[in-house]
Point group: C2
Chain length 337, copies 2
């Protein structure tokens, strides 16, 4: 199946670039309520399922054992900017678990927003692993390993108990056999398993609704969603789509992943969403997510207008002149929630 064009980028009154992709929307009872393109081909969800990588730790009592705060839980679900508040929270979570920064195996990363890195450089600072956009997730993985009483070293490897617990949980949430699907290595060195968008959306439907989950897992899911809702800044940061969307529409839980992936759950409506752009473009995944969410009938008029507004974004050049826009293509999302 050829995936449809979902996004157009315009300039000078014409379409300059196009992004194709696929999207699955799953509603109550696991029913597919809308889709576009090939949702049955396995794709790597990458960082879009950080909540599922955090869930086994929360389910196993890491939050209570170490007194983790909502900020620290939210940062565990983050691809953050490495801003000072993100770094502070990553460090406090590690400290509570009694783990040193040297235990990190995510790799060093200078914060992506240039102004954050330049401020560090001006202050004579160097980037460390704690600045890696995944440092909150890795803090929880390390805390989980400490809680399990297993060796911290190698916690990013597929055969480590932490990753094995994550593999089991993702397979259960998404109702998909991870043992026989391709497994890649993510940017921060943890495994990432290829899962069809239909199944990832099912996982997020269950995550938001609690349907089909044990009481402990449903409770852990609610805890994570509440923490992110309370601290949307922790999940991304300044001028970031995830933070902006969840600040504007707190009833949504959304998360970006590398290579054009986006996942979401709308807990109050029991809906899960997963999408990927063929070419890996974040700019296209963002406006597509906003468009498909705004098409659902589970919002107030105000929420719907906010989401629709995020489905087209003006592009300005270095002199502030508007040169075009990035816009989701109008389409009939067959949606009934």
């Amino acid at each position: 199946m050829i995936n449809p064009v979902l996004v157009e980028v315009t300039r000078g009154g014409i379409v300059e670039s196009r992004h194709a992709g696929a999207c699955a929307v799953v509603g109550p009872r696991g029913d597919l309520i809308a889709s576009a393109g090939d949702i049955d081909r396995p794709v790597f969800p990458r960082s879009a399922i950080k909540a599922f990588q955090c869930l086994p730790a929360v389910e196993a009592g890491v939050v209570e054992a170490y007194g983790m705060s909502d900020e620290e839980i939210a940062l565990a679900c983050a691809s953050h900017n490495g801003e000072p508040d993100h770094v502070r929270v990553a460090r406090s979570g590690l400290a509570k678990a009694g783990v040193s920064e040297q235990a990190y195996e995510c790799g060093i990363q200078w914060p992506d927003p240039g102004e954050v890195s330049r401020a560090m450089a001006r202050a004579g600072e160097q980037a460390g692993q704690v600045h890696n956009n995944c440092s909150g997730k890795h803090a929880f993985m390390l805390a989980f390993a400490a809680r399990l009483g297993v060796d911290l070293k190698g916690y990013v490897k597929r055969d480590h108990p932490v990753q094995q617990a994550i593999e089991k949980l993702i397979g259960e949430m998404c109702d998909y056999d991870l043992a026989s699907t391709p497994c890649g290595i993510d940017g921060c060195s943890v495994p990432t398993w290829a899962v069809p968008l239909r199944n990832i959306a099912l996982g997020f439907q269950r995550f938001g609704s609690g349907e089909g989950l044990s009481e402990g897992r449903a409770e852990a899911s609610r805890r994570i969603i509440a923490a992110v809702r309370a601290h949307p800044f922790m999940v991304a940061g300044s001028k970031r789509f995830c933070t902006d969307l969840m600040t504007a529409v707190p009833r949504a839980f959304v998360k970006t992943g590398a290579e054009g992936v986006f996942c979401a759950t709308i807990a109050h409506a029991g809906i899960g969403i997963a999408l990927k752009c063929n070419d890996g473009a974040s700019r296209a995944a963002e406006v597509t997510l906003a468009a498909v969410m705004s098409a659902l009938d589970c919002w107030t008029d105000e929420e719907r207008a906010l989401l629709a507004g995020m489905s087209r974004v003006a592009v300005n050049n270095r002199n502030g002149i508007e040169t075009g826009e990035i816009r989701a293509v109008q389409r009939q999302w067959k949606c009934s929630s």
Copy 2:
């Protein structure tokens, strides 16, 4: 026409992302010698035709009038990194023309490679317009305006004599009527006209071969190509595809443009190339260009091997682990030069 997939990005042994696009290769006498996808839809060439934006100034004697060096000519064709050598050369070119940095209308840009910006921040420096990746091109536009004796102010506007000369030249080089094609505003605020890839490739065929050009224009073209060949660092910079390719294969002239465009001329073979990825991805445009160039029969075995080597690139994560690759899809480029 649906453009074919030209590039695959792999992870964990499967294809994670795909890039589609179109490409035109024009040979002696303007014959199309290879193509893929829709090469007749007008696309914005963006910065890939900086050589054509520099050409009217060289043709009009700006080089001789102000004693411009080969470095300064090469920088006029550049989307540079804003490294210290680039900034030095932009400033020297402006100074020779007696133009102040305040005359720039390209906008302020912090250098894109983070390490360059961080070094500036450490030294207490601020980004200016001279750090804009287009500052060399704009230095030549300003020098051209000075040479013409016209007002510098507004030199980026479509109705300014500098841009009118560029519009006329691009139309002639590409044998395409710019008056009736969409015109957009580029990132640095100058006009960009939409031209089919077939015609852009024809323009680069003429640029490299001199075919069909006046003696003055052919001479100016040779001057530009020689300057870039002598200073490939000026055209892009450290760890950049354009610089790396032209350093490895000096008989090639290649130039990237925003939104997945690449243009090239192979002067010794009289060949012009223009390509664009649908989705605007540079990573895909780069490996596609290397692949189509390596398929031509105008190279030594060593040159061909170097180009083929650049048609697939390993992807490493933040711990230096190879997670996959970006590779041009194997295809039969119907090439005979």
